[in-house]
């Protein structure tokens, strides 16, 4: 290696490290403040290191908020995956006349900003008298996740050879039976990728429950943490940071699991080809 390339490689690494430092500095506060008994807004080495913030933040109300988040996100992921899987089957296996327009519509809709829909969604929910319900909030999240889920699921299903299914039919399996016993086991990474993606999206979603849920005992953690921030955020920095960490951990955990285990299927969702 010539001196020049070595120097340029050193420069490349140096610039990257610099960018890395710039990216990590804002994040450090969340960690140092959470571990500090007298946290301020700036990064400070916690003296002494204490877990008191975590204990304080795990109040009954906040635990309930996490439970709400969990049921909302899990329910959303479960139903979206189930509905998308059923829809993907005929789209992947049959020669349907409306398949192309259907798939184009699905792809088109994945791009629309959900935010723009929340005013009319609220209006519709209000008219139907279903505002302030975790179930119906989840129903909207399922519906808004479906276009993406169907798109992904169809692509994953396309990669499962039809011959395997045909063998199951010869052995007397029904269409539904072969779907459950032959296709699904082979699609497990795809199912997990879509499920995790939707779960993480619902867990982190703030705007939808912020609009559709009104009573505080039904709020998921995303909304509760925001309310904590607007009420006590200016004083209880340590608790806010500890709450943020507890709220973030499942997302980071799922991301690491998914990217290790599923690789490329998760990172790009097949949506960014070309």
């Amino acid at each position: 290696m010539s001196m020049r390339t070595m120097a340029s490689k050193g420069l490349v690494n140096l610039i990257l490290i610099l960018i890395g430092v710039l990216f990590v500095v804002p994040l450090l506060w969340v960690i140092t403040a959470a571990l500090s008994a007298n946290a301020s807004l700036a990064v400070q080495w916690p003296q002494p290191v204490s877990f008191g913030n975590f204990a304080q933040v795990l109040s009954a109300a906040n635990v309930r908020a996490f439970a709400n988040s969990l049921s909302l996100s899990f329910g959303t992921a479960l139903f979206a995956v189930l509905f998308a899987m059923l829809a993907a089957y005929p789209l992947s296996r049959y020669q349907l006349r409306f398949r192309r327009p259907f798939m184009y519509t699905v792809l088109f809709v994945t791009g629309l900003p959900i935010t723009a829909m929340m005013v009319p969604v609220y209006e519709v929910y209000n008219a139907l008298n279903i505002v302030d319900s975790l179930f119906w909030t989840g129903a909207f999240l399922v519906a808004s996740s479906l276009p993406f889920a169907i798109w992904m699921m169809k692509n994953f299903m396309d990669s499962v050879p039809v011959e395997l299914e045909e063998a199951a039919w010869v052995d007397g399996a029904s269409v539904f039976g072969s779907l459950v016993r032959v296709i699904l086991p082979l699609m497990r990474p795809g199912l997990a990728a879509v499920g995790i993606f939707i779960f993480v999206g619902a867990w982190g979603n703030f705007f939808v429950p912020f609009i559709l849920i009104q009573s505080s005992q039904l709020d998921p953690a995303s909304v509760t943490i925001y309310q904590f921030f607007s009420e006590y955020g200016m004083v209880a920095y340590g608790q806010l940071a500890a709450y943020s960490i507890l709220y973030t951990l499942p997302v980071v955990f799922l991301y690491v699991v998914a990217s290790r285990w599923l690789g490329g299927a998760f990172n790009f969702g097949g949506a960014v080809k070309g």
Partner: protein, 306 residues
């Protein structure tokens, strides 16, 4: 589809029976998804369209007895200064954080990572992705704390002997732009990394041997090859940034004044703080229309085989 040779009557009868059975099964399997999307997704979109032409309010006399008011919401909107202010703020936010910030930084990171040490690549990549993965609301707190008076940035500036303006008050738009650049760069970085790995090495080498400078190689060889990824990525982050509510709302609440009220925040305030659902829906329509145009471009670019 129905033109089966008449010489094979039995086969054709059987085939059409299979077809009919398949169609019935397809309808059955598609039903849950289609019903859910129609009621909770397409329904509200049509509803947006309808109530944007009414004077419906969240409370008060016009909450239940609203009237069709034609284009009134739109004429109010287009003659309102606060609307154009929101459009302008959104454009700054989009241009600053997505089109310039995330795209340029994402491409720079992807280019550097190609040549970097594996350990540096893993650690820096991990940090950038971490900033992207964490929930939106936590990103907002992180940046609120970082930029607040007495926050980490102030401490660093003080240590360097530089002035410490109250960033969230004196430079609110710049603050949310920087925060969103930080929050979203990982996506562009990953898209460009994937795209760059598909650029043939010989192509770059040939250009270098022919005496092209680094810039020339980048602009004349590498970027044209990954042009499609650049376009796709640009549209995706545009859609994402236009719909962004949480980061801005939690960091600044749209303020001070209306300095950071991007369209979604403005829409939220009109509909739920000022109770003008009809006007809020008209704003939704505008956002949706922009989304529809961008989405159509996106599909055209992908040129997917279906």
């Amino acid at each position: 589809m129905t033109t089966t040779p008449a010489t094979l009557p039995r086969a054709s009868a059987q085939e059409s029976r299979t077809r009919r059975r398949q169609a019935a099964r397809a309808a059955l399997f598609l039903a849950p998804a289609v019903v859910a999307m129609t009621i909770f997704f397409f329904g509200p979109v049509l509803w947006t369209f309808y109530i944007s032409f009414t004077n419906v309010a969240l409370t008060g006399p016009t909450a239940t007895h609203y009237q069709f008011t034609g284009l009134k919401n739109f004429s109010i909107m287009f003659s309102s200064r606060s609307f154009w202010q929101a459009v302008l703020v959104s454009l700054y936010y989009l241009a600053g954080s997505a089109l310039i910030g995330q795209t340029v930084l994402g491409l720079l990171l992807a280019l550097l990572m190609q040549r970097a040490n594996a350990a540096v690549r893993a650690v820096v990549g991990g940090i950038v992705i971490a900033a992207w993965v964490i929930p939106e609301i936590v990103k907002a707190f992180t940046w609120f704390a970082f930029l607040s008076q007495g926050g980490t940035l102030d401490n660093i500036l003080q240590w360097l002997g530089l002035p410490q303006p109250a960033w969230l008050f004196t430079q609110p738009l710049l603050s949310v732009i920087v925060a969103n650049t930080w929050a979203g760069t990982a996506f562009s970085m990953m898209v460009y990394s994937a795209a760059l790995s598909g650029v043939p090495g010989e192509l770059v080498e040939a250009a270098r041997i022919d005496g092209a400078s680094l810039w020339q190689t980048l602009f004349r060889v590498v970027l044209p090859v990954i042009k499609n990824s650049i376009m796709t990525n640009t549209i995706l982050i545009t859609l994402q940034t236009l719909g962004d509510f949480t980061l801005v709302y939690a960091m600044t609440g749209g303020g001070p004044g209306t300095q950071t009220s991007v369209l979604p925040v403005y829409m939220y305030q009109q509909a739920f703080s000022f109770y003008q659902l009809g006007y809020g829906s008209a704003l939704s329509m505008i956002l949706l229309l922009i989304g529809i145009v961008a989405s159509l471009f996106y599909i055209k670019l992908l040129r997917v085989e279906l």
